[in-house]
Amino acid sequence: MSKNYISSNIRALRFHNSEMTQQQLADAVDVTRQTIVAIEKGKYSPSLELAFKIARVFDKKLEDVFSYEPTEEKK
C-alpha cells in the first residue's frame, strides 16, 4: 500500500462546526461517508477538487485543512 503523506484536521473542524457528522460533510461535498472516513484516517489523499470543496465547507483555506508531511524522504 502506498504511503499517504497528506494529513487533515477534518475531524477537529467538524467538531468545531456544530459537531457536524461525517455523513453531513459527505453530503455537502457529494461523496460517500466512507471517503470522508478514509481521508480522516489518512488512508486516502483526496483530489484537489474534493480538497477545495471540503475546505470551502468549513470556510477555511486549503492549507488550514490539509497538510503535507513527508515522514521519510526518498534518496
Partner: protein
C-alpha cells in the same frame, strides 16, 4: 466492531451474489450436460455457449442485486443513496479491483490455453475457464472490500 458502511457492504453483497449466481448456473448447466451425449464439436459448442451466457447472467444478477439492496436500504434507513453510487475514492478502488480481476483472469486463461495445447479433455479445459471467471470475480470483490478497509 465498527458498523459497516454502505460502500463496504456493496462488495460483500456482490461477492454473495457472484457465488450464488455461479453455483445455481453451474448446477443447471451440469444437469443439462449430463442429459446430452455430445461429440467433440458438440462439446466445444456447448461449453462455449455456457461461457457466453454466463457473462450476461452475471451482469443481470448484479443489476438486480443493486436494485434490491437500494430498496431495502431505503426502507430500513430512509437513506436514498444508490448502492452503485461511486465517488472518486470508490472509482479508484473499482479500478484497482478490476486490475486484480484481470491479473487472475490472465493466469487462468493461460492455464486454459495450456490445457488445450496439451490436449486435455474439453470438459476440463472449459471448466478451467469457467472457474477462472468465478475466482477472478471473487478476487475483485474481496479486493474492493480490502481497499475500502485499508485505503488506497
Amino acid at each position: 466492531m465498527e458498523k459497516l458502511s454502505l460502500a463496504e457492504k456493496r462488495p460483500l453483497f456482490s461477492l454473495l451474489t457472484t457465488i450464488i449466481t455461479f453455483v445455481t448456473y453451474y448446477w443447471y448447466v451440469s444437469e443439462l450436460y449430463a442429459e446430452k451425449i455430445l461429440d467433440l464439436q458438440g462439446q466445444i459448442e456447448f461449453w462455449s455457449a455456457v461461457i457466453l451466457i454466463l457473462i450476461p447472467v452475471f451482469v443481470v444478477s448484479k443489476i438486480i442485486l443493486m436494485i434490491i439492496l437500494t430498496i431495502i436500504n431505503t426502507i430500513i434507513t430512509g437513506d436514498k443513496t444508490r448502492f452503485d453510487k461511486l465517488d472518486e475514492f470508490g472509482k479508484l478502488i473499482d479500478i484497482k479491483a478490476t486490475r486484480n480481476f484481470y491479473h487472475v483472469f490472465i493466469v487462468g486463461f493461460l492455464v486454459f490455453l495450456s490445457s488445450l495445447a496439451f490436449s486435455f479433455n474439453v470438459f476440463i479445459s472449459f471448466n478451467i475457464i469457467l472457474f477462472t471467471i468465478l475466482v477472478s470475480a471473487i478476487i475483485a470483490d474481496l479486493s474492493e472490500f480490502y481497499y475500502m478497509q485499508s485505503g488506497v
